[in-house]
């Protein structure tokens, strides 16, 4: 795929104002599916988590999952939406082999939640209110695997496999209103918005929210409006954006791509575009028009959802703190400087840091690990940091450093093994025998051996050239295969020098 010509980002912003809109799909982590008793879990053998309902077998009927309704109401409330006193399901009709009934049960004109707003704080401190048009319940489709082509896409494939395990998994689709005024911050806002939604659903405990698994999916609508014009441009809808960093990149890319086309006198095609993580570019998908005809009509197999005021009140009372409020509170509690906190914001890992602190690590250690080594490894692997390790694992690692079992260097080594799936930090330490040698006797023995090879070092130290100890420390660390606390080795050497 040839990469499109891109305009310089700053120049694009000079000429155009970006207008955004997002559709975020959240897979709910209910025990069973939206309309059937089939288990809702990830990673099972294909076509095992299914019932006649998931396959749309003749005669089968859907039944609404009450837990999914509760989760959806909670999410609606957390988005400051009005909860509809009565909402209903509708059928969205289209033929596609991953859609067992060839219609999707969704909500159309009576969604469960409408008119909300989400406060989003950008890393630079700018606060944005993103208006939510609606949040509605629907069922996920199955998963197609295209076999025989080079790209894994349907074009060029010999045949396709269908896995209906995901068919019927409960989804909430959150649709924003048009977002104007983001200007230069548009890509950062996109990322921060999705990160905020992720924080909300994680705090509610209603989704695993793992983007790489598709628990949280974002379609980003981008259009450009020429400066001085009040006419909206043609939008594209970018799909297949599987990480927070991709959202930022994809929005930036679309702004630059569209700006170049418009500046060259071209027109933007209204279409879906697919984000490609490897090339960092989007490619044209299917043309999309507002006239797509899904022949929506009320789902006759289901009754309207009429939540009692008591249920809504109960769920409202149980809402967790809002992400923006939480970050303000955490910043104060942890005593971080603006810079330190920005560090976390930039990484989009506040939830992980907080969970790591909750698991016993010090705020500084939690911050350092997530925004440092874990983020570095995630970047290198081009994945989200959350997909590498859990907060519990990071807290355990930080604890091992604190208690002196590991040096920072050893801890980094342990981290890589943990990421490689070799077990928890403690298990890795045990398995690989990586713990710091804290026995002074063994250290002194190694120091003596090193000193005998460099007899003039002690003399130099006594003369005030303390840095001369470095050579011995190096030799000791080498002899101990890194499993020594360098600071302690240094101490012992200095003690040695002053004792004689």
């Amino acid at each position: 795929m040839s990469k499109a010509k891109l305009m310089d980002y700053d120049k694009a912003l000079e000429l155009f104002e970006p207008v955004l809109g997002f559709e975020v799909h959240v897979e709910l982590s209910t025990q069973t599916k939206m309309f059937s008793s089939a288990p809702n879990n990830f990673g099972a053998e294909p076509n095992t988590n299914i019932t006649p309902v998931c396959l749309g077998l003749p005669g089968s009927l859907p039944v609404v999952n009450e837990q999914a309704v509760r989760y959806s109401i909670s999410l609606g409330l957390a988005l400051d939406c009005d909860i509809a006193p009565s909402s209903s399901f509708a059928r969205k009709n289209y033929f596609y082999p991953d859609l067992a009934k060839n219609y999707q049960i969704s909500q159309f004109d009576e969604p469960i939640a409408v008119n909300g707003t989400v406060e989003v704080e950008l890393p630079n401190g700018r606060v944005f209110h993103v208006d939510i048009e609606r949040a509605h319940m629907e069922e996920d489709a199955g998963k197609l695997t295209h076999v025989g082509g080079s790209t894994g896409r349907i074009q060029g494939a010999e045949y396709s496999l269908v896995d209906y395990n995901r068919a019927g998994v409960p989804l909430v689709e959150i649709v924003t209103r048009m977002i104007e005024g983001a200007e230069h911050d548009a890509p950062e806002l996109a990322k921060a918005y999705v990160a905020t939604i992720r924080d909300i659903v994680l705090a509610l405990g209603i989704s695993d929210a793992k983007m790489e698994r598709g628990n949280l999916r974002c379609d980003a609508n981008v259009s450009l409006r020429p400066r001085g014009s009040n006419k909206l441009g043609t939008r594209t809808e970018t799909k297949n954006v599987n990480s927070l960093r991709s959202i930022e990149r994809a929005v930036r890319y679309e702004i630059q791509r569209q700006a170049q086309i418009l500046a060259d006198g071209g027109t933007i095609v209204q279409e879906t575009r697919h984000w490609h993580e490897d090339t960092g570019a989007t490619s044209a998908g299917r043309p999309k028009s507002d006239a797509d005809d899904y022949r929506y009509f009320p789902e006759p197999d289901l009754l309207p959802v009429v939540p009692s005021p008591e249920l809504i009140a109960e769920l409202k009372a149980a809402l967790p703190e809002k992400p923006v409020e939480r970050r303000r509170r955490l910043k104060a509690e942890w005593g971080f400087t603006d810079l330190e906190f920005q560090d976390i914001d930039n990484s989009g890992l506040l939830t992980e840091v907080a969970a790591t602190v909750a698991a016993g690590a010090s705020p500084q250690a939690a911050r350092k690990w997530w925004t440092g080594e874990v983020a570095r490894l995630a970047n290198a692997a081009e994945v989200d940091a959350t997909s590498l390790v859990t907060p519990e694992q990071v807290a355990e690692l930080a604890g091992l450093v604190d208690e002196g079992t590991l040096t920072d260097r050893l801890a980094r080594q342990v981290l890589e093994s943990v990421i490689a799936g070799e077990g928890s930090p403690k298990e890795v330490v045990d398995k690989q025998g990586l713990a710091v040698v804290s026995d002074d006797g063994a250290l002194i023995e190694a120091i003596d051996k090193a000193l005998s090879a460099q007899p003039d070092v002690l003399e130099k130290i006594r003369e005030g050239k303390v840095q001369a100890a470095g050579a011995v420390i190096g030799a000791v660390m080498q002899a101990m295969q890194g499993k020594a606390d360098a600071a302690r080795v240094r101490e012992l050497i200095l003690e040695r020098a002053s004792a004689q």
Binding site: P58, G59, L61, V63, K101, N102, R295, F297, P300
Partner: protein
């Protein structure tokens, strides 16, 4: 054993209880009858004697151990092919499901099995229940036992013909716009469409979800009530099934009494467009009820004039969506174009080959009615008419306990007569459709034979939602009055079938 096939289900239950007959004997007698006459009638699409006899033997074993599941344990029953079954193919009369075996039983079928009834086989029907003659079955028409050149009604012509031809004492049907009641009307049998939500639709291959309802097809009102009591009740697999404590319908029949009952006669369903013989029997029946203490009230339900038009928008709209799943991907027929093809081409070729003309007609109509720009004019307007029909009935039932009309405008027509005129066939549903639009229960029972052609005529009663017992009351009472007047049941006057032992 020939007399066994002429017994009612209630009589068979007594014979079983008193040890005068075994379920195996009863089942064998009906299988023999099917063997003898079904070549002509073609009420059944599938019969498996081995499976039926095994179920009968199991019933006899329970009975011998003093542990029958239900009064009807061991009584055979025929099942319309619209209900899915694990031990018999389920095709809904369509080529697209030829040979398809369901991995699960429909809830009404499960309830039959749990009560120990013996499934005899699957009965013929218009493809996906679309039709009023059973000529639209992909597997050939069923014939009316009263005249083999005539239609047995539809879509449930198979179930009605099976009980009319004494091939089964009981049958299940489905009624979306009259598919239980109109076949009862033309075959001299009894059919009930329960209140919408009274019987689970789980496992009933959907035609129009908001209209479909499963119900009993029998030769007399008490048998219908007994079967109704077995299949009714809430089902957690069907969100639209009612959580309602149903009274015993059989009890309502046994205590039947029309004294003081207010019966409404609908002016829109009386007179113009109805065959004289049909009207004559209807008016006689009403007079008989009045003579026995019922109060007859004239009613006008003006919205009924638009009911057929509304119905033929709502039904195709829902059907077009319900039938989208028949795409060859997961089950059923698969037709690949020569040399393979894309999934779209395979879906298209399969649906082209697998669906009959009437089904395609309604899918196209429904798809159109739901299309952007047409939705409000067609589907939206139809839903408004539906609301008006519901209001008219609500107002009507303020004045009367039940509403009466002829079940259908004409007696059975000749096979092939209306095949080229779908509109004429659709108009025949005008008396039965309103109950489905309103979600209320209806019964059709024999009212006599039309003078001009000697063919059976039915009378229909409708009641408010959840008041199905009223139908069994008035139906049971009228049946008794008519049988007393005639000195015999209507079906005993049906001509003998070739090969039949009557």
């Amino acid at each position: 054993m020939s007399e066994l096939i002429h017994r009612t289900a209630a009589e068979l239950a007594t014979a079983l209880a008193e040890g005068r007959a075994s379920s195996v004997e009863i089942t064998k007698a009906h299988l023999d009858r099917i063997e003898a006459v079904d070549g002509d009638v073609h009420a059944f699409l599938h019969v498996n004697a081995e499976v039926s006899l095994a179920a009968a033997a199991a019933s006899d074993k329970r009975r011998a151990a003093g542990d029958p599941l239900h009064a009807l344990d061991g009584v055979p029953v025929a099942i319309k092919d619209v209900l899915v079954t694990t031990d018999m193919p389920s095709t809904a009369g369509s080529r697209i499901l030829e040979g398809w075996m369901s991995p699960y039983d429909a809830t009404p079928v499960t309830k039959l099995r749990e009560a120990g009834l013996v499934p005899l086989g699957k009965t013929n029907m218009d493809e996906f229940a679309m039709g009023s003659s059973t000529e639209h079955s992909a597997y050939g028409p069923t014939r009316n036992p009263w005249d083999l050149d005539r239609i047995p009604g539809g879509s449930g012509g198979g179930s009605a013909a099976a009980v009319a031809a004494f091939e089964a004492p009981l049958a299940l049907g489905s009624d979306t716009g009259g598919s239980i009641r109109q076949p009862a009307h033309v075959t001299g049998t009894v059919g009930i469409k329960p209140t919408y939500g009274g019987v689970s639709r789980y496992g009933a291959i959907a035609l129009a979800s908001s209209l479909d309802q499963i119900g009993p097809v029998t030769r007399n009102v008490l048998d219908a009530a007994l079967l109704h009591d077995v299949i009714a009740g809430h089902d957690r697999h069907d969100s639209t099934s009612l959580k309602h404590e149903w009274p015993s319908m059989a009890e309502a029949v046994r205590k039947a009494d029309v004294k003081g009952l207010r019966i409404g006669v609908v002016s829109q369903l009386d007179g113009e467009g109805f065959q004289p013989g049909v009207l004559a029997r209807f008016h006689e029946a009403i007079a008989l009820l009045e003579a026995n203490g019922a109060e007859i009230v004239e009613l006008s339900l003006p919205s009924l004039e638009h009911a057929v038009a509304a119905y033929y928008l709502i039904l195709p709209a829902e059907a077009s969506s319900n039938l989208a799943k028949f795409d060859s991907v997961r089950f059923g027929l698969r037709v690949a174009p020569a040399g393979g093809g894309t999934v779209e081409q395979v879906m298209s070729a399969t649906r082209e080959a697998g669906f009959g003309a009437e089904v395609k007609r309604r899918i196209i109509l429904g798809t159109y009615a739901l299309s952007a720009g047409y939705y409000d004019a067609y589907y939206g307007s139809a839903q408004k008419v539906r609301t008006l029909v519901q209001r008219d009935f609500a107002a009507g039932f303020d004045q009367v306990d039940v509403i009466a009309s002829p079940t259908a405008p004409t007696t059975a027509w000749k096979l092939g007569e209306q095949l080229d005129d779908p509109l004429e066939m659709w108009r025949g549903d005008l008396a039965t459709i309103p109950a489905n639009l309103a979600g209320i229960p209806g019964i059709s029972l024999p009212a006599g034979l039309a003078d001009e052609d000697g063919l059976p005529v039915g009378i229909q009663f409708l009641a408010p939602a959840r008041e199905d017992a009223r139908l069994y009351n008035v139906g049971g009472a009228l049946e008794q009055l008519l049988v007393d007047k005639w000195g015999h049941t209507l079906l005993s006057k049906a001509p003998a079938l070739k090969g039949g032992q009557r």
